[in-house]
């Protein structure tokens, strides 16, 4: 069973629907026992980092998710859920969860694309991920596959946590983390078949990790 971490700031229903479609048992919850008993946790997010941290903090859920991560519960952060795993976000000048060293920065509209035209912010639409290291999440996914991005701020973690990058004005980090704690800037739940495959891969990892315990 996967738990979708409920902190009222996310795209949690979209993730839920994608998992239902895949036949992956799941529940949207913020009950610490249920989270603890889940094989893995999806940490969703859409919207603003400041709002997300406020929701987490006021419900006392920031410590809950951090505790689960320290216990090595498999976690997949998505979009804002990916960004606030870092120390800090420039969005709303937000102190974030400090699970992975780094910060989240605003795209600079003076950066240019391959045609030398200034990039538009937000980065909105389909773009590719270039893997810098092997990652179980991308097993069986065509390297040319595009994923759906929609964000104005991008993660900039310490180099050792960069798993994949995407080009938009600069090469920014679109996948970060370590085995069992992954964070993706794009929305797998809205990225067609490649995105669904990534969610399946995450579930497969969680099942194996739970069996190994």
């Amino acid at each position: 069973m996967l738990a979708i971490f409920d902190y009222k700031a996310g795209n949690q229903t979209s993730v839920h629907r994608a998992l239902e479609h895949l036949g992956i048992p799941n529940e949207i919850t913020n009950d610490p026992d249920k989270l603890n008993n889940a094989q893995g946790i999806i940490f969703p997010g859409v919207g603003a980092a400041g709002q997300a941290m406020d929701e987490l903090h006021s419900a006392g859920l920031d410590d809950v998710i951090k505790g689960l991560i320290w216990q090595k519960k498999p976690v997949l952060g998505i979009c804002v859920g990916c960004q606030i795993l870092l120390d800090y976000s420039e969005e709303n000048d937000t102190k974030a969860l400090k699970v992975i060293p780094g910060e989240c920065r605003l795209f600079n509209p003076s950066w240019t694309d391959h045609e030398n035209v200034p990039i538009r912010v937000p980065h909105m639409g389909w773009n590719q991920v270039e893997l810098k290291s092997e990652c179980e999440l991308f097993a069986g996914i065509d390297p040319d596959a595009d994923f759906y991005f929609v964000h104005s701020y991008y993660p900039a973690p310490s180099d050792e946590f960069i798993i994949g990058t995407t080009h938009y004005g600069i090469d920014f980090c679109s996948v970060h983390g370590r085995t069992g704690l992954w964070a993706v800037q794009f929305h797998p739940e809205k990225s067609g078949r490649p995105g669904l495959k990534l969610l399946k891969n995450f579930y497969a990892y969680c099942q194996e990790a739970a069996d190994a315990e």
Binding site: H21, A48, R120, A145, V150, K190, G192
Partner: protein, 259 residues
């Protein structure tokens, strides 16, 4: 590299897919959920739904369509039509939409853009603009005026100024519809598209007038749009979305190729 998006637009009235020309003479052309799924299978990059139902009672039917779509297609979609309050926004986002498009509601109350952006994030607030060509004047220096109520009510607002205002208030994207071109299949209004695209730094979706794949290429090259909205061109089976993307790719436009 970021792909240019191909976005079919579905007008929904009383739970059914409908299409008109220049916002009039709407006819029933099918089931929106089935149609959305077909476009998803064909490689649509995103889908837009507009609730063109006037009555309050039919709102529930529309939200039901949104929920059904959300459980069957796994690409982003935005929802517009009748969005006047933060609660309206929340309803469609909870029903499964990725983005919400405000049009008349923002013209009447621009603060809804900033409030929506603060609550849900700029990236999910789309400013929908319906625009008509008029004579250039002091009030409308660009010669493009904002209209509401399906193109019937002129607002005395310059489209370029409104686009800039919308961006400043926190809209994350503009969906720019030319009412003169809507449903004509004679091509997008490229002058309008480029004027708006060069006045803002947020993405601009060209809308209204697509009749051939070349029109879509023109929208994202000459018009500087980041996406092309289409309706008639695919609703009547003239082209599939796969055909359109293939032609765009052959013309050198970056499109999403794996789905």
């Amino acid at each position: 590299m970021l792909s240019k998006r191909v976005i079919p637009c579905l007008d929904v009235r009383n739970g059914r897919l409908t299409k008109g020309i220049k916002f009039e003479g709407n006819v029933d052309i099918g089931d929106p959920v089935e149609t959305a799924r077909k476009y998803y299978e064909e490689g649509a990059d995103e889908i837009v739904f507009y609730d063109i139902t006037a009555s309050h009672e039919a709102r529930g039917i529309f939200l039901d369509v949104v929920e059904k779509v959300a459980s069957q297609i796994f690409i982003p979609f935005s929802v517009g039509g009748g969005i006047n309050t933060i609660d309206d926004m929340r309803d469609v986002l909870v029903a499964g939409a990725e983005k919400v498009s405000v049009n008349s509601g923002a013209v009447k109350n621009p603060d809804i853009i900033s409030e929506g952006a603060a609550r849900f994030g700029s990236q999910c607030i789309v400013l929908g603009m319906d625009v008509k060509r008029v004579e250039k004047s002091e009030t409308i220096p660009s010669g493009f005026e904002i209209v509401i109520h399906g193109g019937r009510k002129y607002m005395g607002m310059d489209a370029i100024e409104w686009a800039k205002t919308g961006e400043a208030l926190g809209a994350g994207e503009i969906c720019l519809n030319s009412i003169d071109a809507d449903g004509t299949k004679e091509g997008y209004d490229l002058e309008l598209t480029r004027l708006v695209a060069e006045s803002v730094t947020i993405p601009v979706i060209a809308s209204g007038g697509a009749g051939t794949p070349q029109h879509m290429v023109d929208a994202v090259t000459k018009g500087r749009a980041t996406a092309a909205l289409i309706a008639s061109i695919v609703h009547y089976g003239e082209y599939t979305i796969t055909d359109l993307k293939k032609t765009m790719a052959e013309a050198g436009v970056q499109t999403r190729s794996v789905w």
